[in-house]
């Protein structure tokens, strides 16, 4: 019998121990599962998907021009295959109606809900047989026009940071329960007076397969700012806000329909903002629905900071469960002559929801009201539903690179009439970190009402649209949908711009100094606010 060897096993044991510890430390698995980006905002299924389902919460279906927000559903097929499916119109009273739909490849189809049912309010449920198809809403009412997103999935939580019940404004909340079982929801409002849940909205029961529209103004009367939170105790719903303003007391005038945000996030991107030289009122509303106070920065990304300088971020401290607004036009911090876009960033990673409103009294060819929920995610593929609705005088597509590092290469494709073609000026266009590219689609999409747009890039970008309608006069921010599978949560957004010393030619008048002694717009007292009184540090 051979002599037994001791050393090899001892050596092996030591190696295994050392190796195990090393690998354990270097490959330690995350303890929590990652947040799925496609749960953060409505998103389109990829072409390989067996189907898509879209939930359009509510709109008027009276068939009458006096309907508050007569709803038309727009279905855009960006895929190479014909899509079939069905659209179910669910009225607030009466029986639902099912309509078959068929959308050819690279084309778009619209359905007026009032053609299917006649009721004060009606929801639409669109079930389609494939992916790369998007569904959105177009509303028309006495107050104006609006575009709104349909939801790609129901949710237990819905957040609306913006809203107003001031004099001349109506704020309605539409709740759609497409499921067979009833849902029970709590609706909480946060105003300048504080946060509250009216008794009638506590345990509000929504039967299965029903839509219900709540007039917030009847409960929360005459508040300049109303942030709304819908939380379902049981079941899931789709919630949508319908805001109208009649221009009374010098305020904006128009119709804004917004699908709520389903989740809070650390970063919200607004690739488009008020056009340069515009007198429109632009307000960013941030809701902190969590249980931890949040500190939020609103970064204004100026398109050409080398010329016009950079803007000191607005800094907000938002207690848990409360909301705050920043009126970007209330001071001269932002150079009026520069195009810009916005990033709302929660500095500690606390989840918040950001929404932006642009409103203007109709004057000349400009005016209207639009609410836009920020994009909490970036993606390499985006689908823009609308091409060029009737009466549009200007259609701007904004593509921003929200990352802190790395260029992105972007291509824009226009779909219509059964085919797709890349926009010649937007093929493999490079966008630097923190920068954006504006694409004027007005000419390209002229008289191509059936068109839709897709944006593809090698790295995630965020996309936004702004349309200026002259007939009627209004502002529209059509929804853009990221494609499932191409989405990514931006970990660290592009940092606030800081003008370098090379920007010495910057005109002095572009810098602004706020009164440091001024109260931080007293969030406690007004809830509308407010940037910390930060002195401008814009470089000279």
């Amino acid at each position: 019998m051979k002599r037994v060897r001791r050393l090899p096993m001892i050596v092996l044991l030591v190696m295994v121990l050392v190796g195990g510890v090393f690998f354990d430390r270097s490959h330690r698995a995350p303890t929590t599962t990652a947040i799925r980006p496609d749960t953060l905002m409505p998103s389109a299924q990829p072409a390989t998907s067996a189907g898509s389902t879209w939930y359009c919460a509510a709109g008027s279906a009276t068939g009458d021009s006096n309907g508050l927000a007569e709803q038309t559903v727009s279905i855009a097929n960006s895929s190479d295959e014909e899509i079939t499916g069905q659209l179910t119109a669910v009225p607030d009273t009466g029986d639902l109606v099912v309509s078959k739909v068929r959308i050819a490849a690279h084309s778009r189809q619209t359905v007026r809900i009032s053609d299917l049912v006649r009721s004060l309010w009606a929801s639409a449920l669109v079930e389609l047989s494939g992916g790369e198809v998007t569904v959105a809403q177009l509303f028309q009412g006495p107050s104006g026009r609006s575009t709104g997103a349909c939801a790609s999935s129901p949710s237990q939580d819905w957040f609306f940071p913006s809203g107003s019940t001031r004099n001349g404004a109506r704020n309605l909340l539409a709740l759609f329960n497409p499921f067979p079982g009833e849902a029970t929801v709590d609706i909480t409002f946060d105003t300048e007076d504080g946060s509250r849940t009216p008794q009638q909205f506590e345990g509000f029961v929504l039967p299965g397969g029903r839509v219900s529209v709540v007039d917030i103004g009847a409960v929360v009367t005459l508040r300049e700012h109303v942030a709304t939170t819908v939380r379902a105790r049981s079941g899931r719903v789709i919630a949508q806000q319908i805001q109208t303003a009649d221009g009374r007391e010098g305020n904006e005038q128009g119709l804004a329909v917004t699908l709520g945000a389903t989740s809070a996030g650390a970063n919200w991107f607004f690739p488009v903002a008020t056009p340069a030289e515009s007198a429109a009122h632009e307000v960013v509303s941030v809701l902190n629905p969590g249980e931890v106070d949040a500190t939020v920065e609103v970064q204004v990304q100026v398109d050409d900071s080398a010329l016009v300088g950079s803007v000191e971020p607005y800094r907000l401290s938002i207690p848990a469960g409360r909301s705050a607004t920043v009126d970007l036009m209330s001071d001269a911090r932002i150079p009026r002559s520069a195009d810009r876009w916005l990033i709302v960033h929660s500095t500690a990673g606390t989840g918040v929801v950001a929404e932006r409103s642009i409103g203007s009294v109709r004057s000349g060819d400009f005016g209207g009201l639009t609410y836009t929920m920020g994009a909490p995610v970036a993606a390499t593929n985006w689908l823009a539903t609308f091409g060029n609705p009737v009466g549009i005088s200007s259609s701007i597509l904004a593509i921003a690179n929200p990352g802190a590092s790395g260029d992105v290469t972007v291509t824009v494709t226009i779909h219509g009439a059964g085919s797709a073609k890349d926009l010649p000026t937007m093929i493999d266009v490079v966008i630097a970190p923190g920068d954006r590219r504006l694409v004027d689609l007005t000419k390209e999409l002229a008289s191509r009402n059936e068109a839709s747009i897709t944006i593809s890039s090698d790295h995630p970008v965020v996309v936004g649209q702004l349309m200026v309608s002259t007939s009627p006069i209004d502002l529209l921010t059509p929804p853009d949908y990221p494609l499932v599978g191409s989405m990514a949560i931006v970990g660290e957004p592009a940092p606030p711009q800081v003008a370098s010393l090379d920007d010495a030619l910057l005109p002095l008048e572009t810098t602004t100094t706020l009164d440091p002694a001024a109260p931080a717009s007293s969030l406690e007292s007004t809830s509308t606010t407010m940037a910390d009184a930060v002195t401008s540090t814009t470089a000279r």
Partner: protein
């Protein structure tokens, strides 16, 4: 209890001081005369061939014998012999040397193979003896009964074996005592042949069931401490003096009793006849007990069990039999179960065959009872005064002292044993282990074991048997794959427990703990050091593998805990390396030489039984054998590697064959057969794996202490201790590495669960700790004082520290197992199942599903966290049962179901309910932990994406039940057997979603609602021209007959069936099991029987050959033990301090 004067009257002519002076040997052959002239001496030759058993009538010889007496009553020695061995001359000589004056010797040759040689041997020593030859060997009793015909006129018969050696005064003393005590039967003191100072028996007691109870401890030193005459129940059959008239009145021995038990029979019936049975210890007889050497098989236990039953049946009166028979049957069942549990299959077979034999010989027993009734002098109540109370066998088991309780003061034996073994490490350790297990399991022992994880509730015995033989399984959407062997095994075990399947579940779950500990105890036996055995066994119990398996409902882990030590013992034995063999040194205690095929068969049986619950066990066995070889290579010992590999691989292959046809599924779909694995997200780091922290009760930093203790033999061990330590550590490293890789999600192939991988590591570590003790005892003294001594102290300290978490684990009384399961929360499922048939679709982490499922890969929703894997499964009509314990191959139906989930998971549909409605899925349940809240928070997880997907389905309605699970009601569901409207077109199947939809099934009425056997239903179909849709896989094996006519079957949706009804009337739906299925089941039974038969047969033969070899070598007492002591072990002659070992060995069925 000694009875001085039994109040009974002896039967027959009472011997007096002037006995009959002569004994006529009317049928005998005088050997010496025949030898002299090779012809009959006197009388007529009745036959032609003397050696063939023809007889010579020899009255003259008898007369001449009688003439020699001196007034003493004639005694005829009746010695039955068969192929006597070397001792025979000594036996004969002892008769010749008796100082009794009136004695004759009758040798009855029970068909010895060489009669002439026998005759010569008898003649050479005892020329006056008479020889009678029988044609065949009918056994001792029948052969001795020849004296009834051959002997007349004798006062006493001295019935003797042919392997006894009488002291010179034995016959005289016995006869004197017979007269003095007025006894009918008198027996001597029986001592060992080779060492007359060691006692074998001084009379025997028995209980009312015929269980013997010797009055003296076998092997006790004879210091004349038992040398007082006393009444006994019977005397050992080696030498028995019986009054001739009594023997004749009783009709001799019971002829049906061949060997073992005739002495009990004689004594019991003598008592019934009113005769005293006396032990006269002054008469000393040495007994070789060489019967086993002449018997072709060692059927001692079988015959004992059989004949004890026989004696009780014959000697008891009717009322007594009515009382005792059910009780005896009950004890028999218990004993069979205990034997099966401990792997003593031969013992179980013996008990079972004893009852069968007695049933088949009931008529002869009846005749004997009739004869006994005629001479009965006392009733059973008086006989019982001589019997021991209670059930000695049960009491002995409970007191852990088989064969030790004798004498009237048996109730003190336990105490005296305790005294004798006070301080014995072994006994103390085992008492503590049992106490620890009882304390730790107390709530589960006396409560309910929750149906979590892989521990679903059992079905009825009949149901399980039906499922086993049927060609249809209800898993998934129905399957025609071979049914699992487990159904048959559980049905068999349930039958043995008289249908108490709940008890069976308790035994099969909780029994794994003690079974594993005992298996570890046996595994460590060859080490030879009691301390090492105790430490290794305790270490195995301290490692929280079994505990965590229980806590997680991981039945495969528990089974592996119990079975893997047995398998490793066989692998170690197959290596033949010392101390598990004799290669490189001497074999340790308890080591048996077995052929390799026997090792393979043993591994196969254990592995096949384990694979019934843990199919992946077979893979682990192969892996363990490979790792052992690698360990040997690391240790520089290549020898026997091939044998180990052959044993491991061969055993697994044979086990695989034993599981046929079920295991055939593994060939086609291994992943599904093994099931999805989950670590519940806890065993993902080196830190947790190296502490075996895979359960809810984590051992903390002290969990590493055992690793320190286990390293000791690597540092101080030498020779085989070091070699095996290296192999053990190879097991530890390999097991932990595999478990870690699995926890990291690096290995996506079909793999065993993490607990299965960790069990070999646990055994390796525990054994290494034990080897450390052995090295401490043997190797350390050879070293000079230095770091090795300090390391030893540190190891000992670590071992103690490692025990602290284990102590804490026992506090809960249920090993951290949840206190409830989903049954209560989901009770409404079972209630609804009473009115309609439907399926429940279970989704979630494979580790928390209360049934076996199939893996599901849907990138959008299957990220459940590290170590978790998404799985789906279905249960029929409510909560899952053992019917859903095993998965099967993924067939078309399952593919369709999985595809539906994938479509929904990827966002392709919001109407999952409609997709699964044709599958009769009424509810979808997503467990968020292994048990509902608040019982299992540690195993909980949050499958947000999965829930979001389900929440988004328009036809699923969320039902609030318990925070620990999510339940969705399918608004579009249809029953399993739905009656569809006329003209319904059922798609035959296809790749598109539309090909899987059957909208008409939603809300359709259920038909054929009356169960008609397993996989059969009947009822009326009142709607002419309608379609019966059956949501079961099985294809053409389903048949629907209506009004006696078979309806045409069509494929539906690619996996289901539909039948077009042509008229109204009664209908019957049935699954037709193919004949081949019956053949396969029969083949499986035959295969199992063959392997078990081979296993037992070889074991018996090898053991017997070893035994006989031992006898031949020593020329002394027979012994079962064929082992030699280990170089370091304490084996050797018995000592007081080893009593504990003996007790434990007796409990565990070890051959001491």
């Amino acid at each position: 209890m000694t009875v001085e004067e039994p109040a009974i009257e002896p039967v027959g002519p009472e011997p007096t001081g002037a006995p009959d002076v002569g004994a006529d040997l009317i049928v005998a052959e005088q050997v010496a005369d025949e030898q002299a002239d090779d012809s009959p001496i006197v009388g007529d030759v009745v036959g032609d061939d003397v050696l063939a058993g023809d007889v010579v009538v020899d009255d003259l010889v008898a007369d001449e014998e009688i003439v020699e007496d001196q007034g003493a009553p004639p005694v005829v020695v009746v010695m039955v012999t068969h192929n006597p061995g070397w001792w025979f001359e000594e036996t004969l000589a002892s008769f010749e040397h008796q100082d009794y004056p009136n004695i004759s010797v009758l040798v009855i040759d029970a068909a010895s193979s060489d009669p002439i040689a026998l005759r010569d041997r008898v003649a050479a020593v005892s020329p006056s003896a008479h020889l009678r030859r029988l044609d065949a060997n009918p056994g001792f009793a029948s052969a001795a009964n020849e004296a009834l015909h051959a002997v007349q006129g004798a006062s006493f018969l001295l019935l003797c074996h042919d392997d006894v050696r009488l002291d010179s005064g034995v016959v005289r003393i016995l006869v004197e005592e017979a007269f003095r005590s007025n006894a009918g039967v008198v027996g001597p003191k029986v001592v060992e042949w080779s060492d007359p100072t060691r006692l074998l028996s001084v009379g025997m007691g028995a209980d009312r069931y015929g269980q013997p109870a010797p009055y003296v401890e076998r092997g006790d030193l004879d210091q004349e401490q038992f040398d007082s005459v006393r009444d006994v129940f019977y005397v050992q059959g080696a030498v028995t003096l019986v009054r001739a008239d009594l023997f004749e009145a009783l009709g001799g021995f019971d002829a049906e009793i061949t060997f073992h038990g005739e002495d009990l029979d004689l004594g019991w019936r003598a008592h019934v006849a009113g005769a005293r049975v006396i032990a006269a210890p002054s008469a000393r007889v040495a007994h070789l007990e060489a019967l086993g050497e002449r018997r072709p098989v060692d059927d001692r236990r079988r015959l004992q069990a059989r004949h004890r039953l026989r004696v009780r049946t014959v000697a008891s009166s009717g009322p007594t039999r009515i009382r005792t028979t059910p009780v005896a049957a009950f004890y028999g069942v218990l004993e069979v179960l205990q034997s099966l549990l401990f792997g003593r299959f031969r013992h179980a077979r013996d008990i079972t065959s004893a009852w069968i034999w007695n049933f088949s010989h009931a008529s002869s027993a009846r005749r004997l009872r009739g004869r006994l009734r005629g001479i009965r002098q006392v009733d059973d109540g008086e006989v019982r005064a001589f019997q021991r109370r209670g059930n000695l066998r049960l009491a002995a088991f409970l007191r852990a002292q088989f064969g030790r309780s004798d004498g009237e003061d048996a109730q003190w034996d336990f105490v005296s044993n305790l005294r004798a073994t006070r301080g014995t490490l072994t006994l103390t350790a085992w008492i503590l282990i049992v106490f620890y297990l009882l304390i730790g399991s107390r709530e589960l022992l006396f409560g309910t074991i929750p149906a979590i994880g892989d521990m679903p509730p059992m079905l009825g015995v009949g149901d399980m048997f039906s499922r086993w033989v049927s060609g249809y399984q209800s898993i998934g959407l129905g399957s025609t794959a071979a049914s699992p062997t487990g159904f048959g095994l559980f049905a068999l075990l349930g039958t043995m427990l008289l249908g108490a399947v709940g008890l069976l579940r308790h035994v099969l779950i909780l029994g794994m703990l003690p079974l594993g500990v005992m298996a570890m105890w046996r595994l460590t036996r060859p080490i030879g050091s009691r301390r090492a055995r105790v430490v290794a066994t305790v270490a195995y119990l301290m490692i929280p593998v079994a505990e965590s398996s229980l806590a997680r409902g991981d039945w495969p882990g528990l089974v592996s805990f119990a079975a893997m030590p047995i398998v490793l013992a066989q692998l170690f034995g197959a290596s033949g390396l010392t101390p598990f063999g004799s290669i490189g040194g001497s074999a340790g205690p308890g080591v048996h030489r077995r052929p390799l095929t026997h090792r393979i068969a043993a591994i196969a049986i254990v592995a096949a039984l384990s694979a019934t619950i843990a199919p992946a066990f077979l893979i682990v066995v192969v892996a363990a054998s490979v790792v052992l070889v690698i360990g040997g290579v690391l240790a520089g010992q290549f020898r026997s590697s091939l044998r180990v590999l052959l044993a491991g691989i061969g055993g697994s292959v044979l086990a695989f064959a034993l599981q046929l046809p079920w295991s055939f599924s593994a060939i086609t779909d291994l992943r599904s057969t093994l099931g999805s694995s989950s670590t519940l997200g806890v065993a993902s780091s080196v830190s947790s794996i190296t502490r075996f922290a895979i359960g809810t009760g984590r051992p903390g930093v002290l969990g590493w202490a055992l690793l320190v203790a286990g390293a000791l033999p690597l540092l101080i061990g030498r020779e085989w201790r070091l070699g095996w330590a290296v192999r053990c550590w190879a097991l530890v490293i390999a097991g932990m590495a595999a478990a870690w890789a699995l926890g990291q999600g690096w290995i996506s192939g079909p793999l065993p669960s993490v607990s299965l991988l960790l069990v070999p590591a646990a055994i390796g570590l525990a054994l290494a700790v034990g080897l450390g003790v052995a090295a401490f005892e043997v190797d350390l003294p050879d070293y000079h004082f230095g770091w090795r001594q300090l390391v030893s102290i540190a190891a000992a300290f670590s071992f103690v520290l490692a025990g602290l978490p284990a102590l804490g684990a026992a506090l809960s009384g249920r090993w951290h197992m949840p206190r409830g399961d989903f049954a209560q929360s989901l009770a409404f499922l079972d209630e609804q199942a009473a009115t309609s048939s439907f399926r429940v679709l279970w989704l979630g982490d494979a580790g928390v599903l209360p049934l076996a499922g199939w893996g599901l890969e849907i990138p959008a929703v299957d990220d459940l966290g590290t170590g978790r894997s998404l799985a789906f499964a279905t249960s029929s009509d409510g909560m899952p049962s053992v019917a859903e314990q095993w998965t099967g191959p993924v067939d078309a139906g399952l593919r369709s179901l999985a595809s539906s989930l994938e479509v929904a998971g990827s966002g392709g549909t919001a109407r999952l309910g409609a997709l699964v409605a044709p599958m009769a899925v009424r509810y979808i349940v997503v467990p968020l932990a292994a048990a509902p809240e608040p019982y299992a928070t540690r195993t909980s997880y949050q499958p947000d994406a999965l829930l979001a997907m389900l929440d988004a389905q328009l036809d699923l309605d969320s039902v609030t039940v318990n925070p620990g699970l999510r339940v969705y009601r399918n608004a579009a569901w249809g029953p399993e057997r739905a009656l569809l409207p006329k003209e319904t077109s059922v798609p035959a199947g296809g790749p598109e979603i539309a090909d899987r939809l059957l909208p008409q099934v939603s809300g359709a009425p259920e038909v054929l609602t009356e169960p008609d056997g397993f996989a059969g239903w009947s009822g009326s179909i009142d709607s002419e021209g309608s379609t019966v849709y059956l949501s079961q896989s099985g294809g053409s094996n389903w048949s629907l007959t209506q009004n006696g006519q078979a309806l045409e079957r069509s494929d539906a949706l690619g996996w289901a069936s539909s039948f077009r009804s042509t008229s109204a009337g009664d209908a019957k739906l049935q699954f037709d099991t193919p004949f081949t299925r019956w053949l396969m089941v029969l083949g499986q039974v035959v295969l199992w029987s063959l392997v078990i038969w081979y296993l037992l047969r070889v074991r018996v033969r090898v053991d017997e050959s070893s035994t006989l070899a031992g006898v031949a070598e020593s020329g002394a007492a027979t012994t079962v033990e064929t082992t030699t002591a280990s170089g370091s072990g304490p084996a050797g002659s018995p000592s007081a301090t080893e009593t504990g070992d003996a007790l434990i060995a007796s409990i565990l069925g070890e051959e001491a």
